[in-house]
């Protein structure tokens, strides 16, 4: 789901994990409900970890949560499949989501800085365009984007996915908030008096100050690209350019005629989910999001 919100700046009223105060009893109901929620959310992830160890025949015959011993066979089969096509999909995914999100973050930071710290003709028009852009459902753009890129012969290339992923009105909106909140005008004036040009001031002074917020912009855009199925699905015909999502859904289609493919799909899903889950848990503190925009006033 492409849901996006306004991340809060680090200042919060209370610590993130409240210790249960000694004078308040713990509630069994709360514990049970939270554990039920956790079980529901962990169920498919737990399943894929176990299922990726099953052979093709076991997948549909043994009990759902009975592990087996074929994990390395399955990984081996997937690796050999068409000369390591799967790992190419993984590498492509890193390129699309990683490079795309990095480029988008830089573009957003520059635009957000300009909107927050300069006065110029057309500023409010541009800002309103950005706001309107936030509400445009991105997926609807995929078909006309394809037709336009087809006119210049750029479909079925890495650029066809990377370039549309580099613009994020929401990222610009966030970067503007972060710039307004974290880059004091006095510091910019001081840099100017010291003789630094606009670009140098931005790169050496403003960018480091905005760093915390820009990590959040990067993560949002990374997830948005990694989650966007329709864009690469439409743009790419050559399966050597696929990200792992489009590749795996293609393999699932083949499963109807070659049931052995199901094991490959399950193993592939497991291998793609594990690193991302680890990354998310490591970066969890950047996901402190406060949606009510008023809370991030400068």
């Amino acid at each position: 789901m492409a849901v996006s919100t306004v991340p809060a700046l680090p200042a919060t009223a209370r610590p993130a994990t409240p210790p249960a105060p000694p004078h308040r009893r713990t509630s069994p109901t709360a514990t049970v409900l939270l554990l039920l929620g956790a079980a529901y959310c962990l169920l498919p992830v737990l399943w894929v970890l176990i299922a990726s160890s099953k052979s093709a025949s076991e997948l549909f015959s043994t009990f759902t949560f009975t592990p087996s011993t074929h994990l390395f066979d399955n990984i081996g089969y997937l690796t050999e499949y068409r000369d390591g096509l799967y790992w190419r999909w993984m590498a492509n995914t890193v390129v699309y989501a990683g490079v795309g999100a990095a480029a988008s973050t830089l573009v957003s930071a520059m635009a957000g800085f300009a909107l927050a710290r300069y006065t110029f003709r057309g500023k409010s028009l541009i800002f309103n365009l950005v706001l309107a852009g936030v509400l445009v459902p991105g997926v609807i753009l995929a078909v006309p984007q394809y037709l336009l890129l087809a006119k210049v012969g750029m479909t079925n290339t890495y650029w066809a996915v990377l370039l549309p992923s580099m613009i994020s009105p929401y990222g610009i909106y966030l970067a503007r908030i972060f710039a307004a909140a974290t880059v004091p005008t006095e510091v910019l004036e001081a840099a100017r008096i010291d003789g630094a040009g606009d670009w140098r001031t931005f790169a050496r002074v403003a960018l480091p100050m905005m760093r915390g917020g820009l990590v959040t912009v990067f993560l949002f855009q990374f997830v948005a690209i990694w989650n966007n199925y329709m864009l690469p699905f439409i743009m790419l015909g050559d399966d050597r350019l696929f990200p792992v999502t489009v590749g795996l859904s293609g393999l699932l289609n083949q499963g109807a005629t070659q049931p052995a493919m199901y094991t490959a799909v399950v193993t592939g899903a497991m291998l793609s989910v594990v690193p991302l889950v680890a990354l998310f848990l490591a970066l969890q503190r950047y996901w402190r999001v406060d949606i009510s925009a008023g809370a991030v006033k400068a």
Binding site: T31, V45, A114, A116, P137, V143, P164, F202
Partner: protein
């Protein structure tokens, strides 16, 4: 707020990459879709040979064709029903979990928060793959358990259940993120706002309903808005489930119909008209919703 007020080209240079990309990949596609939606192919003669197929103005023909397509209205109603299931369930669960975490009356808070947030790391396609397998009667643990106690469960991917099967994937994927958003808003409430109520003997539930929920209403409005926009665009989940189920048609959602018209039928004009209709509907729904709740969605101060 004091700005850098010198006359300079700098802000335009900083904005240039964003504006160029915005023009090329947002404004131009929207404009092109609007243009295509008003065009059609005119076939002269037998339609063979160069120049026998030309593009001409079509007026609103594509729109009437799109709106009266027998498959369009069912797909819109389906997505409407889907949204009525997904959005309240997802946000209800997210709010409940956020309030339970915020009340701090449990020792499993950190574990539960991490576990419930985890599905956000799983993209919709992979989530649909995982659930798709778990829906198959030969894999599903739920089927095993129900059969163990003598109940024959319905097939999750049969025509009467498939909507809920897809909705479950969306709820699974979206609850954690919304929970974190609402939880962050809850943690920003100063404690003294409800400590007084607690001393007066108010229960946690009363405090949640009377104090906490009204304070985080702006966050609820925004999560609701973004969830609705995401719901209208549902595409990846049903597309991924299709190979596992014959109950999902090629026009199951409006966006799937756009895809079919553009790439299976090569009718880019109908696809463009349907895209414009979906975009306009999304805009009207989200704008109307913000007007309805009287919320200033985006801060424009500074």
């Amino acid at each position: 707020m004091s700005d850098l007020r010198r006359r300079t080209k700098a802000p335009y240079l900083f904005l240039a990459p964003a504006l160029i990309l915005f023009a090329a990949f947002l404004a131009a596609p929207i404009g092109y879709a609007a243009y295509l939606s008003l065009r059609r192919i005119k076939v002269s003669g037998l339609g063979l040979g160069l120049g026998s197929r030309t593009e001409v103005w079509a007026g609103l023909g594509n729109y009437t064709r799109s709106l009266t397509d027998p498959e369009f209205l069912p797909s819109v109603l389906r997505v409407g029903g889907y949204g009525l299931v997904v959005v309240p369930t997802m946000l209800g669960l997210a709010l409940l979990m956020a309030l339970l975490l915020d009340a701090g009356r449990t020792r499993v808070g950190t574990f539960a928060r991490t576990a419930i947030f985890l599905p956000y790391a799983v993209p919709a396609v992979i989530a649909s793959l995982l659930w798709g397998f778990l829906y198959l009667p030969r894999v599903s643990p739920i089927v095993d358990v129900l059969q163990g106690i003598g109940i024959t469960p319905p097939d999750a991917l049969s025509s009467s259940w498939v909507l809920y099967a897809v909705a479950n994937i969306a709820v699974w994927g979206g609850t954690g993120f919304n929970m974190i958003v609402l939880y962050t808003a809850l943690r920003a409430i100063p404690t003294d706002l409800f400590e007084a109520a607690r001393i007066d003997g108010a229960s946690d539930i009363q405090i949640a309903l009377r104090i906490k929920i009204p304070i985080i209403a702006p966050s609820l409005v925004m999560t609701f808005l973004f969830s609705m926009i995401a719901t209208l665009q549902v595409f990846a989940e049903p597309m991924t489930l299709r190979p596992l189920s014959n109950t999902i048609s090629t026009t199951w959602t409006p966006l799937m119909k756009v895809y079919r018209d553009a790439f299976v039928r090569n009718d880019i004009y109908a696809a463009a008209a349907t895209s414009v209709i979906i975009a306009a509907a999304t805009f009207v729904v989200s704008y109307g919703f913000l007007k309805l709740v009287g919320s200033r969605a985006f801060s424009q101060e500074n």
